[in-house]
């Protein structure tokens, strides 16, 4: 029982990070139809910038805030100078642009920072909390709580504000959105900035547990992508559920089968989803009446 609980909590923790990455994918995909493979680099930036800024003597909370701002600026620049000029290009072209941006950001990070692994101190110490026999790192609560706050905040924004509804409207029907006067370019910029912030927050929360380096983004982006696919591309609820499921799958797979194949599970999920249910768990089937 204690073992099961241990796997459950570590699965949920890592799953919460995948969920945030998947949410970033979802937000940009909804606003622009682009699958942004530089999403993982936002996570990397969150962790790395916090590490280096706090190493320069800045208090951790401020360093984290700076990291989020840096990621948002990079996200906006990515939209302005890489995505916006290619407006109207095919989806494949746009995906290749984001892959290029991801490689570029990794290269710059390698030069500006370094190639080492880095750690952040846990936000509330390293004394494990005992929950029914499972030893839980306090940082896990930060990850789970932080992810919950981001998810609820995003939900409130999309459902309760006119600007949030404009994002949903742009996702649903771009032409109609422009006809009612929604500036869809601004909405796209907002989505890139918001995704960058969500990614960076995920990176900051998880770095005390998993360490960070210039290239952590690649694997996280793929896992987050698997989560978004599993949940149904473009569905925020699906992204969260998909992320948590993949985290749990990894944790239980590594615990009960073999940790050697831990990273393989996410890719297995991508393949199974593509073969068996390309629309994902919560994917919208086209049932609109005409």
């Amino acid at each position: 029982m204690a073992e099961f609980l241990q796997f459950l909590i570590s699965g949920l923790t890592v799953g919460a990070v995948y969920a945030l990455v998947a949410l970033g994918f979802t937000l940009i995909y909804n606003a622009s139809g682009v699958v942004n493979f530089a999403q993982g680099e936002f996570v990397m930036l969150g962790g790395m910038v916090t590490v280096f800024v706090s190493a320069a003597g800045v208090p951790l909370p401020l360093a984290a805030l700076i990291a989020v701002c840096v990621a948002v600026v990079i996200g906006l620049l990515l939209h302005r100078f890489a995505i916006e000029p290619a407006r109207g290009a095919s989806a494949v072209t746009l995906i290749i642009i984001t892959i290029g941006a991801s490689i570029l950001l990794r290269g710059i990070a390698q030069i500006v920072f370094d190639k080492q692994f880095h750690k952040l101190p846990s936000f509330s110490g390293d004394t494990p909390v005992d929950i029914f026999g499972a030893a839980v790192q306090p940082q896990s609560f930060w990850v789970l709580g932080g992810a919950a706050v981001v998810v609820l905040g995003l939900y409130a924004f999309l459902e309760r504000t006119v600007l949030g509804k404009a994002v949903l409207a742009t996702a649903a029907n771009r032409l109609a959105a422009r006809l009612v006067g929604i500036n869809t370019t601004t909405i796209m910029a907002l989505a890139f900035g918001g995704s960058a912030a969500i990614g960076a927050i995920a990176g900051i929360l998880v770095t005390p547990i998993t360490l960070t380096s210039y290239d952590v983004g690649t694997l996280l982006a793929l896992k987050g992508f698997a989560a978004a696919m599993l949940g149904g591309m473009g569905n925020p609820l699906g992204a969260v559920v998909g992320g948590l499921l993949i985290g749990l799958l990894e944790a239980f797979g590594a615990g009960y089968l073999s940790s050697t194949y831990k990273d393989a599970f996410a890719f297995l999920v991508i393949l199974v989803v593509l073969f068996a249910a390309p629309q994902g768990l919560f994917g919208r089937r086209a049932v609109e009446r005409v």
């Binding site: 949903l168 409207a169 029907n173 109609a176 006809l179 009446r289």
Partner: protein, 234 residues
């Protein structure tokens, strides 16, 4: 109010509008009729700024607007109910109407919404349902209501009767006539030419990207050439 001079627009190399010149005066209902592919929808999209133009100019109240982005034209008072309705399917009826007033921040948004509900009572009944689940006719009412929520001076209506039952067509046409009483100028695109010309002050017949005939709605209805070519009446 609206003056279009030599407007040209193309999809790639195919020119769809080949120099359209027309005007709409304040308070008029003007019908734009013509066969499939004549360029009617392209013209309305160019007016709203969602279709690029390759030549000519658009004057609204004497000022050129053809270089303004779509949201600035909404600010000026031009809104559109597009062809195929294009409601925001995953959003509720009420949210669709609210987004119609996206550029506004005044206090009358609620009372304008209630006026749309008075005009189309079925929408009030379904206000909390998703727009994607409405019937075609209800979506059409929603699209018109959404365009009205922008407080238009000039309302562009693209094929409001397409695919609707005759009863609903009458209801929509009645609504359009009542808009005129509210002081809203209407530019109406219709394939159902006889119905459109019957309620219009004036009409234009568009033929492969150019204005072929123009005149009072009743005059066009009576014109033997227009009748033969567009109204399917011998």
């Amino acid at each position: 109010m609206l003056e279009i001079k030599g407007l040209r627009s193309a999809y790639g190399r195919i020119e769809v509008l080949k120099g359209v010149t027309l005007h709409v005066e304040t308070g008029e209902v003007v019908a734009l009729v013509g066969s499939n592919g004549a360029g009617k929808t392209t013209l309305l999209r160019a007016l709203s700024g969602v279709q690029p133009i390759t030549g000519g100019e658009i004057l609204f109240n004497g000022e050129p607007i053809h270089r303004l982005p779509p949201h600035r034209r909404v600010d000026r008072g031009i809104t559109q109910s597009p062809e195929g309705r294009q409601v925001f399917g995953p959003l509720t009826v009420e949210d669709n109407l609210r987004l119609g007033a996206y550029r506004r921040s005044d206090k009358d948004i609620g009372s304008d919404r209630d006026r749309v509900f008075t005009m189309f009572p079925i929408l009030a009944e379904k206000r909390h349902l998703l727009a994607g689940g409405l019937s075609g006719g209800q979506q059409q009412m929603l699209a018109i209501g959404r365009a009205l929520m922008g407080r238009p001076k000039l309302l562009l209506l693209d094929e409001p009767s397409l695919g609707l039952s005759p009863l609903l067509v009458d209801q929509i046409l009645d609504a359009i006539v009542s808009l005129r009483k509210d002081g809203i100028t209407v530019l109406l695109v219709e394939q159902n030419a006889s119905a459109a010309l019957a309620i219009a002050d004036r009409g234009y017949v568009l033929e492969t990207g150019k204005v072929a005939y123009t005149g009072a709605g009743s005059a066009l209805l009576a014109d033997p050439q227009v009748k033969a070519a567009y109204l399917g009446i011998e």
